[in-house]
């Protein structure tokens, strides 16, 4: 099972938690607000973004497996694509990042 990179991010970096669909204005706002070293976690309705051809997701993107499976989306890690995460992986992320923004 793939895990978020466990090295500690720079103190300025931000973990972005998004639970809105890609059609919601907050989704695009979040992508605009992402900087170097940031991580994007897709939760709840936002997981449908992994199948959405309209948005290019940042390299450091994960999605909650439980939300994805519920919505019939694969949980196989891909070489470059978003990484499947369990809730415990989400805890590892929130442990690592000092600044966590919910969108």
């Amino acid at each position: 099972m793939s895990k978020p990179d466990s090295k500690v991010p720079p103190v300025t970096a931000t973990l972005h938690l998004v639970n809105k669909t890609p059609d919601h204005s907050r989704f695009a706002e979040c992508l605009l607000a992402m900087g170097q070293g940031d991580y994007l976690l897709l939760m709840e309705n936002a997981v449908v973004a992994v199948a959405d051809c309209r948005h290019r997701l940042p390299p450091d993107t994960g999605f909650l497996v439980a939300d994805a499976r519920a919505r019939g989306l694969g949980d196989e890690p891909s070489e470059k694509g978003p990484q499947p995460l369990e809730y415990a992986d989400m805890v590892r992320l929130t442990d690592r990042f000092h600044r966590i923004v919910s969108w």
């Binding site: 938690l17 709840e44 909650l64 369990e86």
Partner: protein, 141 residues
């Protein structure tokens, strides 16, 4: 679940502002809270705000074959001895009252579920000061 917080791990507070059926927030927050507990983290407090206060009604009555999120949260709060607050301003407007507020405003009943306390936004400010991480679970619409 392991209920002994490990030293060196950050302490958490959770803020839920998404409603019970208008969002997935209470459910996601519960799954995350359980993951925190099972990985040895401390949860300092839970704060319900805005539509999020809907979780704390003792009258929520889902069909018997559906998850009762209020009861599921109550179990975690009790097991782990986590204080949970519902913002008083959000709660009163949305018809969530403890006995004291029901008496004060002469309303016919109280409906605050056991395990939750009515309190001011000061509890949220305190969470920002006390906890290493404050994770917010908003509505999703």
């Amino acid at each position: 679940m392991d209920s002994t917080p490990a030293a060196g791990l950050p302490g958490y507070s959770l803020v839920i502002s998404g409603g019970l059926y208008s969002s997935q927030a209470p459910a996601t927050a519960l799954a995350f809270a359980k993951a925190l507990v099972s990985t040895g983290h401390r949860i300092d407090r839970v704060f319900l705000y805005g539509e999020g206060v809907s979780l704390a009604s003792a009258l929520n009555t889902p069909p018997s074959d559906e998850t009762d999120w209020t009861r599921a949260w109550q179990e975690l709060l009790t097991d782990q001895d986590i204080p949970a607050f519902a913002c008083i301003a959000s709660a009163l407007r949305r018809g969530l009252l403890n006995q004291q507020e029901a008496d004060r405003y002469q309303r016919p009943a109280a409906n605050l579920a056991d395990g939750f306390v009515i309190a001011g936004l000061g509890e949220w400010v305190q969470a920002l000061a006390d906890s290493d991480r404050v994770i917010h679970f908003p509505g999703g619409a």
